[in-house]
Symmetry: C2
Subunit: 335 residues, 2 copies
Amino acid sequence: MSVTIRKIATDLNLAVSTVSKALRDSHEISAETKKRVFAYAEQMDYIPNLYASSLKRKKTGNIAVVLPEVADSFFSLAINGIESVAQEKGYHVMIYLTHENPDKEESILRDFRSGRVDGVLISVSGGAGADSHIHDLCARRIPMVFFDRACESIGAAKVLTDDFEGGYKATTHLIEKGCRRISFLALSETLAIISHRQHGYEEALRHDGIPVDKNLIVNCTNDERESYAIIKKIFLDENRPDGVVGSVEKLATLTYSVCRDLNLHVPRDVKVIGFSSLSIAALLNPSLTTITQPAFEMGRAAATLLFSSLERNNQDAQCRTIVMPSVLIERDSTR
Amino acid sequence: MSVTIRKIATDLNLAVSTVSKALRDSHEISAETKKRVFAYAEQMDYIPNLYASSLKRKKTGNIAVVLPEVADSFFSLAINGIESVAQEKGYHVMIYLTHENPDKEESILRDFRSGRVDGVLISVSGGAGADSHIHDLCARRIPMVFFDRACESIGAAKVLTDDFEGGYKATTHLIEKGCRRISFLALSETLAIISHRQHGYEEALRHDGIPVDKNLIVNCTNDERESYAIIKKIFLDENRPDGVVGSVEKLATLTYSVCRDLNLHVPRDVKVIGFSSLSIAALLNPSLTTITQPAFEMGRAAATLLFSSLERNNQDAQCRTIVMPSVLIERDSTR
């Protein structure tokens, strides 16, 4: 049978309320009594009932990280950055995956309204859908920080990269390497980071006098097989692209698979650049040119902002936007 | 201000206990009253206090997945398998990372003792340390299923692959390809899956009359830079290996990096095989020969066992061990 506060009180000949207050380190209880209670509780292997004590402290010691997936190198590195800060602060990190499904995202966030976590770090899903569930959580004053994928209409803290600039740099790089028919592989029409990257792509084309061809802007999906078929189709066209910007990692590696299966040589027949933080990008055949975000540092910055809100109810931290630089790493896929 | 049960009771002219029971769908309350209470609660946007209601129902609607990291393809695929089952059952999955740190693992599991989750899926950390925290959780009758990395001394449900066979097959494959100085890159001496893979490696060597050379069995760490240096050292030896078995994915890709930096050609100078479920293994330079576990299916099987325990208190499911087959996929790194 598990030890209760009542049992401790009886054994120590104290009131239940005294033991309860002592265990919460209340100033109403003398140091000597607290010492007695702590020592006995430890001896008896007493475990506080989390839910009961949460009712009083309103603290769970948990933060939630809500994100689309973990198979993408950006997210797995960002998680490590978040955890490095949470560890210092003595918090547990609970990771929830939305799989780009706004219904799932909504269901997860609804759960948080009843006090399951002290704060939320979120990279929003790319599915079409209202973002009222995010507004709702925000309105309930649960501290929240967006990282990478933000909900632009919400005045919460954000840690981002300049996605327009990333799209612009990637496209300009391909133009400099001689590409003229550059395809932009998009993931979702509703995701701000993708549309900013696309605007950068379009602006770079215009800047070099290359007309924007809507047939070269292709919407892929979260289903790998579907996306493979979509990408294959553009390469079977007689006017196939000579350059590809993969707006997320998976779309760049899928382009590699398509090219291999169609016997198209990268970079001779088509040059490829992808947004990716993949540590083994250099080991791919050919090594992949990337726009690389500082994923670990972005996770650290987002977590630092969140704890700043939690610890000091810091209003300034609650609406800050930090924009971190991403870099173009040139490798063989665009040579 | 948020709506409370008391407010609903006052407004509907009902006792607080009646509203509380109605919201828990108790058979003591008439269907008509329940309908009135539900309709009004919905209208008022009533959110049950999770912790208070958990005290009564002893159900959180959450399962925990505890694992070392998400950057490894096995784990990211296994998570997807677990989530596919949890989604069907209407449970949220909370992912906790141990980063191979037994202290962190212990701290996470200790948290579960107070009722944070309904069940736990765990792939144990590889750090040296007592596994008493796992025994402890098990003794508290919180349903638990091991996947991939089990604690062998605990009679809980397990979903595994035959790691001895995997190590044996990998090594035999290298021997057939002409390797005679085969190095085994281990991750941790305390992790059963690694020692089973190593025993398979040693047995395969013995079977072919090749003496086991302890200098070729190398313990790497969780630090990427450290492991890189350790692997580099064995390749700078004049008696460098002509074949490598990477007992986890990261060690195979690190071997690629070392070989590239030392201008050693894979597979001509050294052949490499790794335990990995990496979908882009085929896109590496050269494409990587792998021992591939059915990661998604293992996640599904583990989650199915857990829900079987949760739903039916199924004693049989609580101590079943399922062993699933892994396959050798030959690619260019061993040709």
